[in-house]
C-alpha cells in the first residue's frame, strides 16, 4: 500500500516563528502548512495523510489546551506537540494527559522538535493503520448474516455448538455451518483469531446460559 506524504501543521500567532519552523521542518523533507490561529486551522483542509500539529499554547481567542479538547470532542485525532514561551507543570500535565506528544518550551532545541514530530507522525501512522484495520474487519463483520453474527457472539463467549443450538432453537449442524461460514467471511484462522477480531470490533458477546 502506497502511503500519502506526511504533513505537519503549525499554529502560532507569530509569523516570524511560523516561518522559522517551516524552514526547519521543511529541511528534513516534510511538508508543512502554517496557520496564524486555531480558527484558521479548523477552516483549512486536512488531507488524508499521516499528520501532526505543532501548536502554540497561547493563542489569540482560545488557549491551546482548550483547542486540544475541542479537537478531541470533534473526533479529530491528530497528535499535538505544544510549544510555549513558558509552561508550568500543571499545564504540561494537563496537555500530556490529554494525549499531547510533547511539550516544548521556546526557544526549543531543533532536534527536540524534529524528534517530537517524528514520534507524532509515527503515532498517527499507527493510528491510521489501526483505523484502517478496523475498517476492514468491520466490513467483513457487516457481510455476516444476522444469524451468523449471533452465532459469532456466542462462540467468542465460549459457548459450545450444542449450547448455541439449544439457545437459538436449531440443529447443532446448522450452528456448525453458520460458524464455519462466519470464520470464512471474517478470514479468521482460528477461534483465538476470531476472538481478537471481535474484541477490536467490540462485538457484544452472546449471553451465557
Amino acid at each position: 500500500m502506497n502511503e500519502p506524504a506526511p504533513i505537519v501543521f503549525v499554529v502560532d500567532d507569530d509569523p516570524s516563528i511560523r516561518r522559522a519552523i517551516k524552514r526547519l521542518i521543511g529541511s528534513v523533507g516534510l511538508q508543512v502548512e502554517l496557520f496564524g490561529s486555531a480558527q484558521e486551522f479548523l477552516l483549512g483542509k486536512r488531507p488524508d495523510a499521516p499528520s501532526c500539529l505543532v501548536l502554540d499554547i497561547r493563542l489569540p481567542g482560545i488557549s491551546g489546551l482548550d483547542f486540544q479538547h475541542q479537537l478531541a470532542e470533534a473526533n479529530i485525532h491528530i497528535p499535538i506537540i505544544f510549544i510555549t514561551a513558558h509552561g508550568d507543570i500543571p499545564m504540561t500535565v494537563r496537555a500530556m494527559k490529554a494525549g499531547a506528544v510533547e511539550f516544548l518550551t521556546k526557544p526549543f532545541r531543533d532536534q527536540d522538535l524534529l524528534d517530537a514530530i517524528q514520534l507524532a507522525l509515527e503515532r498517527d501512522r499507527a493510528r491510521r493503520q489501526r483505523e484502517a484495520g478496523i475498517v476492514v474487519l468491520r466490513e467483513r463483520f457487516e457481510s455476516l448474516s444476522p444469524r451468523e453474527r449471533e452465532v459469532v457472539g456466542m462462540v467468542v463467549s465460549g459457548m459450545l455448538n450444542k449450547q448455541i443450538a439449544a439457545q437459538i432453537g436449531t440443529a447443532e449442524n446448522t450452528v456448525k455451518v453458520h460458524r464455519s461460514r462466519a470464520m470464512e467471511k471474517m478470514q479468521a484462522n482460528s477461534l483465538a483469531d476470531l476472538i481478537k477480531m471481535t474484541e477490536r470490533l467490540q462485538v457484544p458477546r452472546g449471553n451465557s446460559p
Binding site: D14, S16, I17, L24, A85, H86, K106, P107, D110
Partner: protein, 527 residues
Amino acid sequence: MISTNAELTGSYDYLQVALSGLIAVSASYAALDLGGRVTATSGWLRLVWLTGGAAVMGFGIWSMHFVGMLAFSLPVPVSYNWPTVLVALLSAILSSAFALYVVSRHKMGLVRAFTGSVIMGTGIAASHYIGINAMRLAAVCRFDLRILTLSVVLAIVFSLAALVLAFDQREETRTTPSRKILSAIVLGAAISAMHYTGMASASFIASAVAPDVSHAVSISSLGTIGIAIVTLTVLGLAILTCKAARRFAAQAEELERRVIERTRQLTTINEELRKEIVDRQRAEDALQEAQAGLAHATRVLAMGELVTSIAHEVNQPLTAIVTNGNFALRQLASRTPNLQEVREAIAEIVNDGTRASEVISRIRALLKKGAPDRVELDINEVIKEVTKLVRYEATRSHVSVRLDLAADLPRVLGDRVQLQQVLINLIINSIEAVRILTDRPRELLIKSAKNADAVLIQVWDSGNGFDPEQADRIFEPFFTTKPQGIGMGLSISRSIIESDGGRLWTVPGTSGTLFQFILPTNGNTAA
C-alpha cells in the same frame, strides 16, 4: 554865601538815614537768603543764583551807601559823577559775589574766613569811598585818616561777622526766619555803622573852584525815595524769589525723599518677592522631583506585573532566531546546502534580533528614571507602542483588544514615558477587570478622538465596572480594589495627566468601565 576854606557843616535827614538802615537790613536778609540758595543749588543754576544774588546784594549795599550819602545834606549843591557811581556799584557787586562764593563753599576755615572778610570789607569800603568820590560840589573833601581806618576795620570785622553768620545759616533747613531776621538786623546795623563812621571820617572844606560837573547828575530827594523804592522792591523780589525757590526746593527734596523712601520700600518688597519666588520654585522643583520619583516607582511596579508579557515579547524573536540559526547550521552541514534559504534565514535572524532589541529599548525607556521631558507627541503612536507591550498580557487572558484611533490628530505635549505609563495602567486595570468574565466576551477598546482643542483618549472594557460609591475614591492614593494593588496607579496617572495640563476621569453609567483623559494640543497636526 559861604566863605571858602571854611568847613562845611552837614546835616542828616534822619528819615533818609532810617531808610538807608532799612535797606541795609533788607540787603543783609537777602544776602543770607541768597547764600542759602547758592549753597543749595549746583551746576549752572548755582551760577545763576550767584550772579543774580551778587547783583541784588551788591545793588542793596550800594543803594544803602548812596541813600546814606543822600541823607547827608551840605549847604552847597551836590551832584554826582555817574560813571564813578557805577564803579562803586560794580565794586559792591563784586565783593557780594565773592562773599556768596565764600559762604557757599563746603568748608570755611579760619584763613579763608579772614581772607574773605578782608576782601569783602575792602570791597565794601571801596564802594563807599568811591561813592563819596563821585560827589561833585564846590568843596574839597578831606578825610580823617584814623576814622577812615576805623571804618575800613569795621567793614572787615562786619564782613567777617556777616560771612560767619551767613555760613552758619546757609543750610536752609537749619535756620528759622526769626533767627535770620535777627542776624539781618545785626548785619544791617553793622553796615550802617560802618557807613556812617566812613561818613564821619570825611569833612568838606568849601572851595571857590567850581566842581567838574561833566557826567554829573544831581539827585533830588524824590530821586532818593525812587532809589530806595527800587532797591527795596528788588531786594523784596529777591527774597520772595528765594522763598519760592526754597519752597520748590523743599518740595522737590520732599518728593525726592519720598521717592527714595518708596524706592527703598519697593526694593525691600521686591527682594522679599524674589526670595519667595525662589522658595516657591524650589518647593515646586522638589514636588516635581518627588512626583517623578513616585511615577518611576509605580512604573517599575507596573512593569513587574508585565514581566511575563515582557519575557514573552523577548522570547518570541529569540525562538525564531534560534530556530533559524539551527536551520542554517543544518543546511551548511549538509552536502548540498541551499544557500538561498540560508540567506533568507539569516536575514530573518537579523530582523528578529532587531525586534528583540527594540523590546528591550522600550522596557529600558519605561524603567528609566529622570525628570519628565515634555515634547510634542503623536498620541496614537504612544498607544500603539503600549499595545505592543501589553499584547501578550491580553492574549494570555484571552482579551480581545481593539484600537479605534482617529487619523490626523493634533500633537499633544507630554512626556512619552509617563503617558505610556498612564495607558499601561489603565489597560492592565481593564485586563484584570475582564479576566474574571465567563458569561460574555472579554473586550478592551482603546479609542482616540479630537475634542475641541484637545485630544480625548478612552480606555473601555466589558468588565463589571465598579461601585458608584468607589468612583470618587479610586483616584485617591493607596485606594485599591485589587488584593495585590498598592493603590497608586490611578492616583499617579491622574497627577501625570494633570501636570500635562489635561484631565483624567471615569465616566459612570456606561456598560463596563470607561476611563478617559484629555490632553491639550498645540494645534499642530501629527505627521
